[in-house]
Symmetry: C2
Subunit: 475 residues, 2 copies
């Protein structure tokens, strides 16, 4: 037994034969109803039970997405966009069945415009693929959620990751989108200019909309010049709170650090085991500095002093590119490394983000909660943003462990909300945070979201069952 998502029967209707026939005409052998293909598209990296779509189509062009949406609207069948399936919150599960649109074959780099620091890509292009294509241009795309996610999916969840403290999240780095609407029309949002005041910010509306307002069929992102100099360092601390306070002070002083990642003792052990490192198994920070040679040296000097002031052990520099790569690769594999702490486990991952001044308090409280639990709970965090993750490791065969994990998750989320934070800094709501949306936003703000959803998807066919309950909770 796995973690139960909403019952599969709710609102699920059989796929009309006419729709299947029309889709087969459109896609030929790029349509699949095979169990294995549907199973692959009915799960993600979350601990939820899979919910299989009724069919999967592999789109190669925007007009196919548009036609699929129009057909599904006509037959009142749900549509769920699918990138690489790296979501941690159940985003791609077909809880009401329907058609999964796999966008992984829409993986062309449409254009790289180095003069304007812009790239336009199809939604199935992954972040690593984009950065590979940028080699030699002197530019890079900084948003880095760890997984080699698709750009479309990263838009959908408003992803961020390790570099966001300096470069922002997808919110700041998407310049424009092409989006197929629920009725099959296709719009473009934004322009290629850096800023605009021409009407509602549709780009920002679709970024973070988790496939519930339209299917993103093209993405234009901002690129950044590769820094002239990069250096990385790590340092350990006697306790989590000391480490976090060092980061807080760094942020408050305005040091333009590129990365500030927290790893607790248990997470450090997992990285050692999984990536064959020799990290000290203690709370620690990984820093990265970007800039000119002078600026990097200056930043490092300031941070080294701050770290010393908080009892951190002396910096260990990763000066060679290979050393840096090894460090960050290990950090990127943290999720899978942590799972290996409890072989066969799945993770319920928290994703709270709080104002930086409350981060130490938030982590200290979390530390007490998890110390009192029997479940292993390694912690990693993009602490420069006030964002951290607890991977609560559960045995999928023990339902009581899911209950315990959800109890811990709720404690952690409610503490973050009480401190002025959010239930999800970067993973999105999906299925897993729906229950906290009312507490975070209030029912009236949720009503505004519902009104927008209804205006753009009146039949609730776009990734239904995600993000918020369709009706107001009776008070």
């Amino acid at each position: 037994m796995n973690h139960p998502a909403p019952p599969a029967s709710v609102g699920r209707v059989a796929l009309p034969a006419a729709l299947l026939e029309a889709l087969r005409d459109l896609y030929g052998d790029r349509l699949s109803v095979a169990e294995a293909v549907r199973a692959h598209h009915g799960r993600d990296e979350s601990a939820f039970d899979p919910h299989l779509p009724d069919a999967v189509v592999f789109a190669e062009r925007t007009h196919e997405i548009a036609r699929t949406l129009a057909l599904c609207a006509q037959h009142q069948i749900p549509v769920i966009p699918y990138g690489v399936g790296s979501s941690l919150e159940g985003h791609v599960l077909a809880v009401r069945g329907g058609i999964s649109i796999d966008l992984s074959r829409m993986n062309r780099i449409v254009s790289i415009d180095a003069d304007d620091l812009i790239a336009t890509v199809e939604p199935g292009v992954t972040r690593k693929q984009l950065n590979d294509a940028l080699r030699g241009t002197g530019l890079f795309f900084p948003i880095d959620p760890g997984a080699d996610a698709s750009l479309g999916g990263m838009c959908a969840t408003r992803a961020s990751g390790t570099n966001a403290v300096r470069y922002g999240s997808m919110r700041e780095n998407v310049l424009g989108l092409e989006v197929a609407l629920a009725d099959g029309r296709v719009i473009r949002t934004g322009t290629r200019a850096r800023k605009s005041s021409a009407g509602y910010d549709l780009t920002r509306l679709f970024v973070g909309s988790e496939g519930t307002l339209g299917v993103i069929s093209e993405v234009t992102v901002r690129l950044h010049p590769l820094p002239e100099a990069v250096s990385a360092a790590r340092c350990t601390f006697g306790g989590m709170v000391d480490a976090v306070n060092a980061v807080i002070q760094t942020i408050q002083l305005g040091v333009p650090i590129a990365r500030a990642e927290f790893v607790d003792a248990l997470a450090a052990r997992s990285l050692n085991q999984y990536s064959h490192l020799t990290l000290k198994e203690a709370p620690q920070l990984f820093f990265e500095f970007h800039g000119s040679e002078a600026s990097v040296a200056e930043q490092a000097k300031v941070v080294e002093q701050i770290v010393a002031d908080h009892g951190g052990e002396q910096f260990e520099w990763a000066t060679q590119p290979e050393d840096r790569s090894r460090l960050w690769n290990a950090r990127h594999h943290a999720y899978f490394a942590m799972l290996q702490l409890k072989p066969g486990s799945r993770a319920i991952t928290t994703d709270v983000c709080v104002p930086i001044s409350r981060l130490a308090e938030c982590i200290a409280g979390t530390e007490i909660d998890i110390a009192a639990s029997d479940l292993p709970c390694p912690i990693v965090g993009h602490v420069g943003d006030g964002n951290f993750h607890v991977a609560i490791l559960v045995d999928p065969n023990r339902p009581e462990e899911f209950d315990e994990a959800e109890r811990l998750n709720a404690l952690i989320v409610r503490r973050a909300l009480a401190l002025g934070g959010t239930c999800t800094g970067e993973h999105g709501v999906g299925l897993h945070k729906i229950g906290f949306m009312r507490e975070e936003h209030g029912e009236d703000a949720l009503d505004v979201m519902r009104a927008i959803k209804h205006a753009l998807d009146p039949s609730n066919l776009l990734n239904p069952g995600k993000m918020f309950t369709p009706e107001r909770t009776p008070s």
Copy 2:
């Protein structure tokens, strides 16, 4: 005669006595129907004919705004939020009459949270007032549209200004809002955390919504550490295109300049006359560099070399704070200075913004257009963003000059759109850019905006007649 806005009679209905009575109960002597007060609230800095509201209320608390909206919804009467009236696009004109809600008395600083680099203010707080309140905290609020605009108004138009090249616009710097909706409910958007993936980005939806989706009753903004070092410089060029190319190269190299302002020869003359300066009357750039001492020196060195490569005359440094202030104050008064080039004139101001690589081409084309016109057309621009303004000076008693100005405006906007840009980089749509929204976004994307508008303001009472036509243009 002045520049005609849409006919005042369109859709205008008489104010019901019951509404006026209810508002008088609520506001007492903070309600005015005096001609002078209404006239003051029926115009802005644009060249449009005034359109007077039927009454003006001076709100002091959110609940008053909310009650006003509920009453106006009940009586189906328009509501127009009013900050300081510094709009350049006719935003506050009561083209369908109704109630102007003056927010200038809601000018309390609610909180300054230096540890989180956040301030919360009422919507009538102006940017200078906020920066005065920040003195001694080591922080500042960088968004600077020139005018001492209210933060509520700056949210409504998605303002930016001279510092946006480094610090972003209101889009990037608003963390959360309190908004009173059309039916009188009050919501909060965003949290105090730096990032969130919890649902639709309502903050970014209301930022730039020009009072058409709700009335902003509180604003939480990001603050930035005052730079350790600041230096400013200016330099002149043989031609506009050389100056612009110097900025393009600076941006493409990723130099983190804080300001890069273009002033053409005619605008320089206006600044000399208005602010008693001795600028060379030639195309020129004003730069400002922020950072550590070393970083500022490094940036300046790079830019100085780029300027020299483009035939710029040697930098003149404004090293003393007083010199810098004088320079930037003059720049901030440019609008009024330019008006004085033609005493008694009004300005039709363009606000296009294009991808940085197309800026030289855009300005060169614009230069040819205005050289062929009889109207004086000084140019200033936030060229680091690809954004520039032509102030087309017209004699308000000569309708043919308005026609000529609009002809030029249309040429300039259409060129910018053809180059991948936007009709408005920072001033907003208001009344003046409505005609270009279809060309910029396409009718289907406009339909999405209309659907959102209808969902949140079904009776079209919130600042009606602005931003886009309520119905699709028949094709």
